[in-house]
């Protein structure tokens, strides 16, 4: 998984409304944008569309067009997304530490993430 993909997944999942939207879509095979917006009254339809776009660009959901309707479903390979999300959460803290102790412009801090699956 590339860093930029990881970052996109982290940015997408770092927002509570987007996590809730993703969780809602995961409850169903497919949902239309209208059905999703109907469950998020307080958020507003335009904002829901923009959340859906961010989730789609992060590769977390797929969009299928059918006439004037857009249907959304959770994409396969979700385990990778959870791992990418967790990696980014920790990586984010080291990035911030590096910029705080060395000045935001310094290139001295290099952060690397790596993932192993293991049985213990």
């Amino acid at each position: 998984m590339t860093t930029s993909n990881s970052d996109a997944i982290f940015s997408a999942l770092a927002d509570p409304t987007r996590r809730a939207i993703l969780s809602l879509i995961g409850e169903h095979e497919e949902l239309t944008a209208g059905e999703i917006a109907a469950r998020f009254d307080a958020v507003g339809r335009t904002a829901v569309s923009s959340h859906l776009r961010i989730l789609r660009l992060a590769g977390l959901i797929a969009e299928r067009r059918d006439g004037r309707f857009r249907h959304y479903s959770v994409t396969p390979s979700p385990a990778d997304a959870v791992v990418a999300f967790l990696t980014s959460v920790y990586q984010n803290s080291l990035d911030q530490l590096a910029s705080a102790v060395q000045g935001a412009s310094s290139a001295g801090g290099t952060v690397q993430g790596r993932v192993d699956e293991q049985s213990a």
């Binding site: 999942l13 770092a14 927002d15 509570p16 996590r19 809730a20 993703l22 969780s23 809602l24 879509i25 995961g26 409850e27 977390l60 959770v74 979700p78 385990a79 997304a81 959870v82 791992v83 999300f85 967790l86 990696t87 959460v89 920790y90 990586q91 984010n92 803290s93 080291l94 990035d95 911030q96 530490l97 590096a98 705080a100 102790v101 060395q102 310094s106 001295g108 801090g109 290099t110 952060v111 690397q112 993430g113 790596r114 993932v115 192993d116 699956e117 293991q118 049985s119 213990a120």
Partner: protein, 479 residues
């Protein structure tokens, strides 16, 4: 156990000792891990985290120091919003600087839980020979900082039941899910639980705001729902079984006792703005006015409030003797800290219906002198409680999240449910509900059949936890 291991590293110009010193300072500019707030660096001490997960109430987490070597290594148990192990190593680089390596280990079942909650992974596989039992608890959001001991206590109860042969000869499988201290998320989590084939019951340890939407889902699915926290009596249905203290249980004797001790009569009622704190406020007002006191002011703030100043200055202006503070989770911690910092502890006494040993750990010095009345405090001096605390410590280690009253309530509810299955002769709802009428579990709390409380403990926050001052009869038993 299979687990996920993540490695992160960063090369920094600072030397190991400088970086080691930065850990736990509470400065958010250092990132959520190094900028965490650690009152002390010793095994077992609490580390408060502010994770970048968006939204003011969704970012609080906790970890605990397992061990450390000055300038070399810090070993942490991450407790919430997820459980894992975080080891930070500080290696000097020849020529100056530090290679900081962070190794994170998260159990596969915890990764699966997170995935399911994000809607990314499908639900759990339950073996048909097992009895699935759901736990809906707040593991993230404002109340999430108290979540780890709840999960531990649920796990301990289930392991004890299974070691004893399970229920009706079948092993119990605990399925943990998080409401993020948010009713909307709670509804999704509850529907996910209810779709698990053969789900026997759900144990709930979350706000009554979530309960108001998850209760009807349990009813619609025919699932017994054992709701354990202190709460106001709201929904009523045979499938909904409440275990916790009611506002009247908590307040009717304790508030007059507090007024008698201080000699004061003026009260301020403060809390988060939803049904439970409002019910505490209404009950407190009735008790105070009945006993000749005056409510001088009231202030309620939304969950996840950022600004406590309006309520703090109102308390100051009202010149009160006592405060009833029904904030929740992270809001509770922040309110009581700011209250103490503003010097308001001098000359007032606070009664906080959610104050327990876990809250006192988060509050530290600013908790001193707060009162509460609950069915359980860690300091309860009985053989049953000492035995329970020993089993908890044996199972989760000396550096685990300390038991809270809320968590212990979950432990008792699960044991009572298992007894009810035995008495009722099955795990299906009719058997469990009929069994609950006479099932009795001899745990640390003073309970009657069906888990109803006989008495509460009056406690005061001290430097060594909550000190038990007295035992008070529950309201339903009071004359």
């Amino acid at each position: 156990m299979a687990e996920l291991v993540l490695h992160n590293e960063v090369r920094l110009e600072a030397c190991p000792s400088e970086l080691f010193e930065l850990f736990g300072s509470g400065d958010p500019a250092l990132g959520w891990l190094f900028g965490a707030e650690a009152a002390a660096l010793r095994p077992g001490s609490l580390v408060r985290l502010a994770l970048p997960l968006g939204g003011p109430t969704r970012s609080a987490g906790t970890a605990r120091v397992l061990s450390y070597r000055p300038n070399r290594r810090i070993d942490l148990a991450h407790e919430s919003p997820w459980a894992g192990r975080v080891v930070c190593r500080f290696d000097p680089i020849s020529g100056g600087g530090t290679l900081l390596r962070v190794r994170i280990t998260i159990a596969d079942h915890e990764v699966a839980r997170l995935g399911a909650e994000l809607g990314l992974l499908s639900g759990v596989d339950v073996n048909a020979r097992e009895v699935p039992l759901g736990l809906l608890a707040s593991l993230s959001g404002s109340a999430g900082i108290l979540g780890r001991s709840t999960v531990n206590c649920a796990q301990l109860a289930v392991e004890e039941i299974n070691a004893d042969g399970g229920v009706m000869g079948r092993q119990v499988r605990l399925i943990v899910t998080d409401d993020s201290t948010d009713p909307g998320v709670g509804a999704i989590a509850m529907r996910r639980l209810c779709r698990i084939p053969g789900l026997a019951a759900v144990v709930g340890m979350h706000s009554s705001a979530t309960y108001a939407v998850t209760g009807p889902i349990a009813i619609a699915n025919g699932i017994p729902y054992l709701y354990t926290p202190t709460s106001e009596p709201t929904l009523s249905h045979p499938l909904l079984v409440r275990f916790g203290e009611t506002p009247l249980d908590q307040l009717h004797r304790a508030l007059p006792r507090m007024a008698a001790q201080t000699g004061g009569s003026r009260w301020f009622l403060a809390g988060n703005d939803y049904s439970w704190p409002r019910a505490i406020g209404a009950t407190a007002r009735a008790v105070i006015e009945r006993t000749g006191g005056t409510v001088a002011g009231e202030g309620y703030l939304p969950l996840g409030a950022q600004e406590f100043e309006p309520v703090l200055s109102a308390i100051d202006r009202c010149q009160v003797d006592h405060v009833v503070s029904s904030f929740v989770g992270q809001d509770h911690v922040r309110f009581e800290r700011e209250f103490a910092e503003a010097g308001l502890r001098h000359g007032t006494r606070t009664f906080a219906p959610l104050m327990d040993d876990a809250v006192v750990e988060h509050l530290g010095e600013s908790a001193m002198g707060i009162w509460n009345a609950l069915g359980y405090f860690v300091g309860l001096d009985t053989g049953e409680n000492r035995e329970f605390l020993r089993r908890y410590s044996d199972r989760f280690g000396p550096c685990s999240a300390p038991v809270s009253a809320a968590a212990e309530g979950v432990y008792e509810a699960i044991h009572t449910w298992a007894r009810a299955c035995y008495v009722g002769g099955g795990v299906e709802p009719t058997a469990v509900l009929s069994g609950l009428r006479s099932a009795c579990f001899q745990g640390p709390r003073r309970c009657d059949r069906g888990g109803s409380l006989k008495s509460l403990l009056l406690g005061e926050a001290t430097r060594s936890g909550v000190r038990v001052l007295d035992e008070l009869p529950a309201a339903t038993r009071a004359s």
